[in-house]
C-alpha cells in the first residue's frame, strides 16, 4: 500500500446514543495519511460525538474504531495523535501557566519510546512555537494572550509531540474572523508542507473549504463522505451556497 494511502482512522458501523437518545447511526468512515477532512453538519448532528469516539473519549454503543491499524482498545501510541477539544481556550482564567509550561506539561507527560531530556524539551517547545509564529511569547502567561494566540499555543502543544494526525473540534469558536482565517491557513500549511493529517469538526464550511480535500457530512447518519471536489459539485454543496442552511447552521 502506498504511504499516502495508509489508513490512519477507520470507523466501522459506529452508533451512539445519550441515555437512549440516538446521536450517531451506523457511521462508516476512514481517514488516510495526508487527508484534510472536514466533518460538517448542523448543530446536534453528532460531529463532536464522532470526534470523541475517534479519540477514545466516548465508547460507541455499537461498532468499532481502528487507529493506525490497531483496535482503539489496544492502541498505545497516543503521541501520534494531537487533539484539540471544543472551547479549549475557555480554560480557567485564573490558571497561572506560561505558554512554555503549557507545552512542557504535555511533552513531559506523553509516553514516547524515548523520553526527551530537559534541553530537548526546551528545543521542541521553541520549535513548535516557531511553527505557529509565537516564539517570542514563550514566557508570557497563557491568560494574557488573545483567543487566536491561545489557539495557536494549543496547536503548538499538539505539534510538539510530533503527531501524525491532528483532530480539532470547532477550534475557532469565539475567535475574530481574521484570526480564524490565519488559523486555518496555518492548518492548511501544516497539511500540505508537513503532510500532517487533519480531521476538523466545523459548522462553518465556508472558511475552511479552500484547505480541505475530503468532506464528511453528518446528520446522525453519514449523508456524504468523499472528495471535496466532488462535494462541491453535489446538490448538498449547492444547497449550502444558496442558503439552504439545513446542513450548516450558525448559532453564536
Amino acid at each position: 500500500m502506498k504511504e499516502s494511502m495508509k489508513e490512519i482512522i477507520r470507523v466501522e458501523g459506529v452508533s451512539f446514543s445519550y441515555d437512549g437518545v440516538p446521536a450517531l447511526l451506523d457511521i462508516n468512515l476512514s481517514v488516510h495519511r495526508g487527508d484534510f477532512l472536514a466533518i460538517i453538519g448542523p448543530n446536534g448532528s453528532g460531529k463532536t460525538t464522532l470526534l470523541k469516539i475517534m479519540v477514545g473519549l466516548l465508547r460507541p454503543g455499537q461498532g468499532r474504531v481502528w487507529l493506525f491499524g490497531q483496535p482503539l482498545e489496544d492502541f498505545k501510541q497516543w503521541h501520534k495523535i494531537g487533539y484539540i477539544q471544543q472551547k479549549a481556550t475557555n480554560f480557567d482564567p485564573i490558571f497561572p501557566i506560561s505558554v512554555a509550561e503549557v507545552i512542557a506539561a504535555s511533552l513531559n507527560s506523553v509516553s514516547r519510546p524515548v523520553k526527551p531530556g530537559r534541553r530537548q524539551v526546551r528545543n521542541k517547545i521553541m520549535e513548535a512555537l516557531q511553527t505557529v509564529g509565537l516564539e517570542s511569547e514563550a514566557g508570557k502567561p497563557m491568560n494574557s494572550l488573545s483567543g487566536g494566540q491561545q489557539q495557536r499555543v494549543l496547536i503548538a502543544r499538539a505539534l510538539s509531540t510530533e503527531p501524525e494526525i491532528l483532530l480539532l473540534d470547532e477550534p475557532t469558536t469565539g475567535i475574530d474572523y481574521p484570526s480564524q482565517e490565519n488559523f486555518y491557513d496555518l492548518l492548511g500549511k501544516l497539511n500540505k508542507q508537513k503532510q500532517l493529517t487533519i480531521v476538523l469538526v466545523t459548522h462553518d464550511y465556508g472558511i475552511v473549504n479552500r484547505h480541505v480535500n475530503r468532506v464528511a457530512c453528518l446528520n446522525q447518519k453519514l449523508v456524504y463522505h468523499g472528495e471535496h471536489s466532488e462535494f462541491c459539485q453535489s446538490d448538498r454543496f449547492r444547497e449550502l451556497l444558496h442558503g439552504g442552511h439545513h446542513l450548516i447552521s450558525h448559532r453564536h
Partner: protein
C-alpha cells in the same frame, strides 16, 4: 521568652513536623484549588476525625487508624463521583457527615476519650510526640515526592483534562494519587491545626500564591513559601505570646492572603 525553650525538644519537634506539613499543604493546595476541589480537604478532615475516634476507641495509634480510614474515605469520594454520578461537593457532603456521625457515635459509647479527641478538633502541635514527628516528616516527604514525580502529568491533567486523557494518561490513577495524598496530608494537619482549621492550610497559601504568580513554577514556590511562613511563624507566635498555635497559623495565612491581594491590586 526563655531562650532554652527555643531549642527545647518540644519546640523543635513542632517546627519539624510543621515544616513537613507546610510543604505538603503548599504544593497539594495549588492542585486542589485549581481543580475546584478545595472542599475535599474539609470532607476528608471529618472522615479523618472518625478515624481518630476509632483508633482511640480500639486503643490503637489514632494517627495510623485515621490515615487508613481517610485513605478509604478518599477513594470512596472518587467512586461516588464516578459511579453514582454525584457532583463532587455532594459526594464530599455525604462522606463528611458520615464521618462526623461515626465520631459522635463512638464518643457516646466510649466516653473516656472525649478530651483526647478534642485535641484533634482544635489541633495541638506543641504536644506532638517524637514518633509522630518522624511519621509526619516521612509522610510529608512522601507526598512532596509524589507531586514532583508526577508534576507534568498533574499540571497537564489540571489544565486540560480532555487533552490529557487523549494523550494516553491514566486520569483515574492520577485522581486516586491526588486524593490519597490529600488524605495523608489532612491527617497530619489534623494533629497540628485540628479538624476545624485544616481546610485553611490546604487552601489559603495556594489562594495567596494565585494572587501573585505569573506561571505554575512561581505558584508552587509561593504557595509552599506562604505555607511555611504561616505554619512556622504561627508556631513561634504561639510560643512567644502563649496563643493557640492553630489560630495563630490560620491568622498568619489570612494576613499573607490579604497582603498578596493588596499587592496584586497595586501592581
Amino acid at each position: 521568652m526563655n531562650g532554652s525553650l527555643i531549642f527545647s525538644g518540644l519546640f523543635l519537634r513542632a517546627l519539624l513536623a510543621g515544616g513537613g506539613l507546610a510543604l505538603a499543604c503548599g504544593l497539594l493546595g495549588v492542585f486542589l484549588v485549581l481543580r475546584r476541589d478545595a472542599m475535599i480537604s474539609h470532607g476528608l478532615s471529618h472522615v479523618a476525625f472518625a478515624g481518630v475516634a476509632l483508633g482511640l476507641a480500639l486503643n490503637l495509634m489514632p494517627v495510623i487508624v485515621a490515615i487508613l480510614v481517610c485513605l478509604a474515605g478518599s477513594l470512596l469520594i472518587l467512586r461516588l463521583k464516578e459511579q453514582a454520578r454525584l457532583p463532587g461537593d455532594t459526594a464530599i457532603a455525604l462522606l463528611s457527615s458520615g464521618g462526623l456521625a461515626l465520631a459522635v457515635f463512638l464518643m457516646s459509647i466510649k466516653k473516656d476519650f472525649g478530651a483526647e479527641l478534642m485535641a484533634y478538633l482544635f489541633g495541638d502541635i506543641l504536644a506532638i510526640a517524637p514518633s509522630e514527628v518522624y511519621l509526619a516528616v516521612g509522610l510529608a516527604l512522601l507526598v512532596t515526592a509524589g507531586i514532583f514525580l508526577n508534576l507534568s502529568r498533574l499540571i497537564f491533567m489540571t489544565f486540560d483534562r480532555e487533552a490529557a486523557r487523549v494523550s494516553g494518561l491514566s486520569l483515574s490513577r492520577l485522581d486516586r494519587l491526588l486524593v490519597m495524598m490529600t488524605a495523608v496530608t489532612i491527617v497530619l494537619g489534623l494533629r497540628i491545626v485540628g479538624l476545624l482549621l485544616v481546610t485553611g492550610l490546604t487552601v489559603i497559601p495556594a489562594a495567596s500564591a494565585l494572587q501573585l504568580a505569573r506561571n505554575f513554577r512561581q505558584t508552587l514556590f509561593l504557595s509552599s513559601l506562604f505555607s511555611l511562613l504561616s505554619i512556622l511563624g504561627g508556631i513561634v507566635l504561639a510560643y512567644v505570646f502563649n496563643l493557640p498555635a492553630s489560630a495563630a497559623i490560620i491568622f498568619l495565612a489570612l494576613l499573607i492572603f490579604s497582603l498578596s491581594h493588596l499587592a496584586k491590586r497595586w501592581r
